[in-house]
């Protein structure tokens, strides 16, 4: 019973201004998603379930599809690498860069890269690595971490950005007009694109049949990144595979609508492979790094449905706990419901210290309702709670449940407790020092106890009824 839940403490320490920023942007995201999806689809649930079943099928045959994708990619002239851990992936990417003599590169947004801290690793190893997604660029300048999958700087406002630009000499003066800010970032980034020697991207999908990668962005930054450089490296989690290109009809229709309320992102890029002889531009070398980093373990666990995730962020937007606590409360790059499930599983060696994330939910199910691949997030949170309990991981502020179970399996004791509860009406329970009672009464009143009254009423009613025929 001692201690406090970290996420609750974080939410308490959050300034009203930050909380409002996050909450307003998240709610707006939920509203936009709802409007566009319900406008465009009559039976949205059927589409979500179809997407879920395609993902499940792929995961069930992941070994086969990986082999197929590798073959197709190689046939297109790409080099395929496999990385078991995050460190492997970092090392693989570093040696590719070294082989090509790359010391400067741009990187478009990739949660997989965030997950393995690729940026700091490359910088440590002497590679200048610039984020080209506007939000990630600002995160990098601020030495911050993203707090939302799709909107990494959901916790910042334009004045924050203007101050950063001034501090980092991207702009000479303070100007927080959004258009000016964007223009200034563009001028800065365009020059960097031209100086860079490679481009690192993620991939939203890899089609096993065709061996083509699919990238979606709204800023076109991955296109700019790839245009002037000879080397393109795509870092891809192994769960990003889909069997056929035509399955994109399902996923692309769901992804942008769920993520940003757009019917389609501004840029949807198919990567055919390295530049062909007849093409005039594009990287001559394409390296695809398939990364496991804990995903196989998740696939073997009872939480495998989380691997369906498309990283759309809809669950973060709709989550009332996320709206109050913000993404950083979840102590990982994945915040909100997806993070509460994914982080303790992906970073399984840190499970004991991340087990509290699964508790930060009322299990309201809004996340499942908006999920484009119908992930039963509340069920997964419950399974993780069960796992933590079985591993006897201490949970701050938890109420011990063994006494409750003893009471609830003994009808006599239970009825006694119900009758006793009425006595509480005459006691000053509002000032009891028990932490759970304190937590309730600090903010809420409690109605009077009527313990056992219904049972009495029911008994009397039954007696009356039985008497009636004699009357």
């Amino acid at each position: 019973m001692i201690g406090k839940q970290l996420i609750d403490q974080f939410a308490r320490s959050l300034s009203d201004e930050r909380q409002h920023l996050v909450s307003a942007a998240a709610s707006a995201g939920t509203v936009k998603r709802e409007q566009v999806l319900h406008n465009d689809y009559q039976d949205l649930d059927a589409l979500r379930k179809l997407a879920a079943s395609i993902k499940d099928h792929t995961l069930h045959h992941l070994g086969d599809y990986l082999a197929q994708a590798e073959q197709a990619l190689v046939a297109r002239g790409a080099k395929v690498h496999f990385a078991v851990t995050g460190e492997d992936a970092c090392q693989t990417i570093l040696s590719i860069l070294q082989n090509h003599g790359v010391t400067r590169l741009t990187k478009s947004k990739s949660m997989a890269a965030e997950e393995i801290h690729l940026n700091p690793f490359l910088i440590q190893n002497g590679v200048e690595c610039l984020e080209s997604d506007l939000g990630e660029f600002i995160i990098q300048l601020d030495n911050d971490v993203p707090s939302h999958i799709v909107k990494p700087i959901i916790h910042k406002n334009r004045s924050d950005v203007a101050r950063t630009f001034q501090r980092e000499k991207i702009a000479e003066d303070f100007n927080d007009d959004p258009q000016t800010l964007t223009r200034r970032a563009r001028v800065f980034l365009r020059e960097k694109y031209m100086q860079s020697q490679a481009c690192i991207t993620g991939a939203n999908f890899v089609c096993a049949d065709s061996g083509r990668l699919l990238l979606v962005t709204n800023e076109g930054n991955s296109r700019f990144g790839m245009a002037p450089v000879p080397v393109h490296i795509a870092l891809v989690g192994i769960e990003k595979l889909i069997p056929r290109e035509k399955d994109l009809a399902v996923f692309l229709n769901l992804l942008a609508r769920s993520a940003t309320g757009q019917q389609l992102t501004v840029y949807t890029e198919f990567i055919n492979g390295p530049r062909a002889a007849h093409q005039t531009e594009g990287p001559e070398h394409l390296h695809v790094v398939f990364m496991d980093n804990g995903r196989s373990k998740i696939l073997a666990s009872n939480c495998r449905e989380i691997l369906r995730c498309l990283r759309c962020g809809a669950c973060q937007n709709v989550c009332p706990v996320y709206r109050q606590a913000s993404g950083h409360a979840y102590r990982s790059i994945y915040g909100g419901p997806i993070g509460a499930v994914l982080s303790p599983l992906l970073f399984s060696e840190r499970f004991p210290e991340l087990a509290d994330l699964a508790k930060a939910s009322t299990l309201c199910g809004a996340c499942n309702e908006v999920c484009p691949v119908d992930i039963p997030i509340p069920d997964l949170l419950l399974r993780l709670r069960d796992k933590a309990q079985r591993q006897r991981i201490h949970s701050p502020a938890a109420i011990p449940m063994a006494p409750f179970a003893a009471l609830a399996t003994s009808p006599v004791l239970w009825r006694g407790a119900m009758s006793l509860s009425k006595a509480m009406n005459h006691l000053p329970i509002q000032i009891t020092p028990l932490p759970p009672a304190r937590a309730w009464f600090d903010q809420r009143a409690l109605p009077a106890f009527h313990g056992g009254d219904f049972r009495k009423w029911m008994k009397a009613r039954l007696k009356n009824k039985n008497r009636k025929p004699e009357d």
């Binding site: 839940q5 996420i7 609750d8 939410a11 308490r12 709610s27 939920t30 709709v318 009332p320 706990v321 109050q324 606590a325 508790k359 930060a360 939910s361 009322t362 299990l363 309201c364 199910g365 809004a366 499942n368 309702e369 419950l382 399974r383 709670r385 796992k387 933590a388 309990q389 938890a398 109420i399 449940m401 063994a402 409750f404 179970a405 609830a408 399996t409 003994s410 009808p411 239970w414 009825r415 119900m418 932490p435 759970p436 009672a437 937590a439 309730w440 600090d442 903010q443 809420r444 009143a445 409690l446 009077a448 106890f449 009527h450 313990g451 056992g452 219904f454 049972r455 029911m458 009613r461």
Partner: protein, 251 residues
């Protein structure tokens, strides 16, 4: 009063009164009995019932909650429908129990799952009662908080249809109605700050719509919301939907 009943074969039902009605909200359990009897059913209340086990289940202590669930399944054994005036206890019977017994399926648990109904869902979808011939004396604005555990069930539509058909009743929309109230069982005391903020946001939206009464299908949500409202000096009348059905018949 003639009310079409689609499941005429059901003559008897078991009432799972819920621990909250046992301890505090006795009138909700009474209203459930009165409405079901009004519909021609005989209602039995097994005296050995306690709780569905949800507090332990949601806390992750499944060895504790499985004990409670087994007791519950034993108390409600048989083949009669089990009617629950709570979306979350019904969801525990119908879904939570299957989850916590997924590795060791238990026929009594599966049976309980298949027979459990949230009461409004039962009346509307089980019995087929599609309108309610009750009346408010004056126009009454009802704000219906759906309660999260009824997501994906027939309860929401059932409440909107039945309450909406009551004379002089108007179900009024309010902002962000898909959002949770912040109760969440032990969540409300283990994450008190977030819970309180969520409840306050919910109250803001509800009270902005100026309801005459806040209606729910889970007294736990209403206990949390009304408790917050009282401390914040903006108390709001609140009733379970089944109380509205009963009260408007009596009017």
């Amino acid at each position: 009063m003639d009310i079409p009943v689609a499941l005429p074969l059901v003559k008897r039902v078991l009432l799972m009164g819920t621990c909250l009605c046992d301890a505090i909200y006795d009138d909700v359990a009474r209203a459930t009995v009165e409405v079901l009897e009004h519909l021609g059913l005989s209602v039995e209340y097994p005296a050995k019932q306690t709780c569905c086990g949800q507090p332990a289940f949601n806390s992750g202590d499944w060895s504790a909650s499985r004990k409670v669930a087994r007791h519950c399944a034993e108390v409600f054994a048989g083949d009669l429908p089990v009617i629950v005036p709570s979306g979350s206890c019904a969801a525990m019977n119908r879904h939570g129990n299957l989850l916590q017994f997924e590795n060791s399926p238990d026929p009594s648990i599966t049976s309980l799952a298949s027979r459990s109904w949230e009461v409004m869902d039962f009346i509307f979808n089980g019995l087929g009662v599609k309108f309610w011939p009750g009346a408010f004396e004056t126009p009454t604005r009802l704000a219906f908080h759906r309660s999260c555990h009824s997501r994906g069930t027939g309860t929401g539509d059932a409440v909107r249809a039945l309450l909406g058909s009551i004379k002089n009743a108007e179900i009024i929309p309010f902002g962000q109605s898909e959002q949770c109230c912040g109760f969440g069982g032990t969540f409300c005391v283990t994450f008190p700050h977030i819970s309180g903020k969520m409840g306050t946001v919910k109250l803001d939206h509800i009270l902005d719509a100026h309801p005459d009464c806040l209606v729910g299908i889970d007294m736990s949500c209403l206990m949390h919301l009304s408790g917050l409202a009282r401390v914040q000096g903006r108390a709001v009348p609140h009733l379970h939907a089944i109380q509205i059905l009963r009260n408007t018949l009596q009017a």
